[in-house]
């Protein structure tokens, strides 16, 4: 089964309101008052990557950058650190979106893992240059967890598009 994918199934057009909603929920998750937990998944990065892969014309580098600024302010990080990382993430995901969707979900997750690790390394480099402390290897566990969540994210975020507008037993979608 070489060519697998959601493209077999015809999806409804995405509703921009739902995209905004998911992005806000992911931002909320990232702003939860965690206390000294290292290696949390960056759900906002995951959602940005998801919409860049699935809706590259509706999700852009500029939006990702702005969300990064919000993350920096909310976390008290260096201003521009997440913005930088998310802009790079959005660009890479948009560039690779045709290629990523070609693969089955598990292999998509592997590619997303590489993207997420890359932006974490980017942020690490930026902060080490700016004089931060090395947070330990547990920091990278966040990307692993986020990548494992990719199939679940696909299921949840595409769910509204999978519903038929009017149910018809003789129609395939």
């Amino acid at each position: 089964m070489p060519f697998y994918g959601q493209s077999k199934r015809i999806l409804l057009p995405v509703r921009p309101g739902f995209m905004v909603f998911t992005v806000i929920v992911a931002l909320l998750f990232n702003l939860l008052p965690w206390r000294d937990v290292n290696g949390l998944p960056d759900l906002l990065a995951l959602v940005i990557a998801f919409w860049c892969v699935h809706q590259p014309r509706k999700m852009g580098i500029g939006v990702a950058w702005l969300l990064g600024i919000f993350m920096d302010t909310g976390n008290g990080a260096l201003l521009g650190q997440h913005a930088f990382a998310y802009a790079v993430l959005a660009f890479t995901a948009i560039t690779l979106h045709r290629r990523i969707l070609w693969f089955p979900l598990s292999q998509q997750a592997a590619q997303i893992l590489v993207l997420l690790l890359a932006i974490q390394l980017l942020m690490l480099a930026v902060r080490l240059i700016a004089g931060g402390a090395f947070p330990g290897l547990a920091y990278f566990a966040g990307s692993l967890i986020a990548a494992v969540l990719w199939p679940a994210a696909t299921f949840i975020l595409l769910w509204p598009q999978r519903r038929p507008e009017n149910v018809d037993a003789n129609r395939p979608i």
Binding site: P13, I24, L27, L28, F29, N30, L31, L32, P33, W34, R35, D36, V37, N38, L40, R57, G60, I61, G62, W65, G68, I69, F70, D72, T73, G74, N75, G76, A77, L78, L79, G80, Q81, A83, F84, A87, V88, F91, I94, T95, L124, V126, R127, L128, A130, G131, G132, A133, F134, P135, G136, A138, Y139
Partner: protein, 306 residues
């Protein structure tokens, strides 16, 4: 369905151009923020936008806390009440002597014509969360500039110094812990009055925080178990607050300085309630001849930095 012209042909600048633009913008911001602190206005604006989201994100935790309070059993309340009462009795005994000692101290200071120590106003605050930024050690408290918090104020808990307010938003404030890599605390050894400067050991958010005493000569009179308190030289921290305890000393003849690491006294990672101490009414005067150790130290520190 889309009924407008399909936007296939006008998609704005190429992705690479956009990436270049936003990446250079971020790098500019990062340099401004890290080196010159010019980006505060943008940060404050974004903070106002994010604040409602932060509040919403805080809500489930607050709800859990409230529910926990509600279901606290009577036995545990009774036990806590007893413990508090006995502690209060002990404290009352010490307080009675403290009042007379304070009066005596004030009199001695008058006699010596030394500067009077002014009482500080303290603000009670709660830790909202301990910063998701894994590269620094910060906490966020629920009082901001609206409640009179300013950058630079000292933050303590019931055991000792926690850190210093480094950034203030209207309703929140960021406190950099003494264990942060960039945070420096002037300390003094209780046993012999030796002054030193404690640097944070860093080590990420979940690592066990430590403090380092740098630039202490290898033969300095310091022992494992020595208690370090604030020296009060900088005027930020009131003198005499516990900061840390010396945990490990390595003296190597090959180096001029000893390698001393300490464990912080205050539970920088456990407590939920903290106290923000206001600045003294008049800042202390510039170090004079009465404090000869300080200038010597700074000169040495600077020499080391080069």
């Amino acid at each position: 369905m889309d009924t407008t012209t399909p936007p296939f042909f006008h998609r704005g600048p190429a992705p690479l151009a956009r990436l270049t633009f936003f990446v250079s913008l971020s790098i500019l911001l990062m340099v401004l923020d890290a080196r010159f602190r010019y980006a505060e206005a943008l940060r404050q604006t974004a903070a106002v936008i994010v604040y409602p989201l932060q509040r919403i994100a805080m809500a489930p935790m607050a709800l859990l806390d409230n529910a926990g309070d509600y279901f606290t059993s009577q036995i545990s309340l009774k036990r806590e009440n007893d413990a508090l009462r006995s502690r209060q009795l002990q404290a009352a005994g010490e307080r009675l002597t403290l009042d007379s000692l304070r009066a005596e101290n004030a009199q001695f200071r008058r006699l010596l014509e030394a500067r009077q120590r002014l009482p500080r106003i303290s603000t009670f605050a709660e830790i909202l969360y301990s910063g998701r930024d894994p590269f620094s050690r910060k906490i966020v408290i629920d009082k901001g500039s609206q409640q009179g918090i300013q950058a630079g104020l000292a933050v303590i808990d019931d055991v000792g110094v926690i850190g210093q307010v480094t950034r203030v938003y209207p309703l929140l404030a960021e406190v950099t812990l003494i264990t942060d890599k960039e945070q420096v605390t002037p300390v003094q050894v209780v046993r012999n009055g030796l002054r030193a400067v404690a640097y944070g050991g860093g080590g990420g958010n979940s690592g066990d925080g430590t403090l380092d005493l740098r630039f202490m000569s290898a033969n300095a009179d310091i022992q494992t178990g020595d208690v370090l308190v604030t020296s009060g030289i900088d005027g930020t921290y009131p003198p005499g607050l516990p900061v840390a305890k010396v945990a490990r000393i390595e003296r190597d003849a090959a180096y001029a300085f000893a390698n001393i690491s300490c464990t912080p006294a205050a539970g920088t990672d456990q407590n939920k309630q903290v106290l923000v101490l206001s600045q003294e009414a008049d800042p202390p005067p510039e170090p004079t001849l009465a404090e000869p150790a300080k200038p010597a130290k700074t000169r040495r520190t600077r020499a080391m930095d080069k």
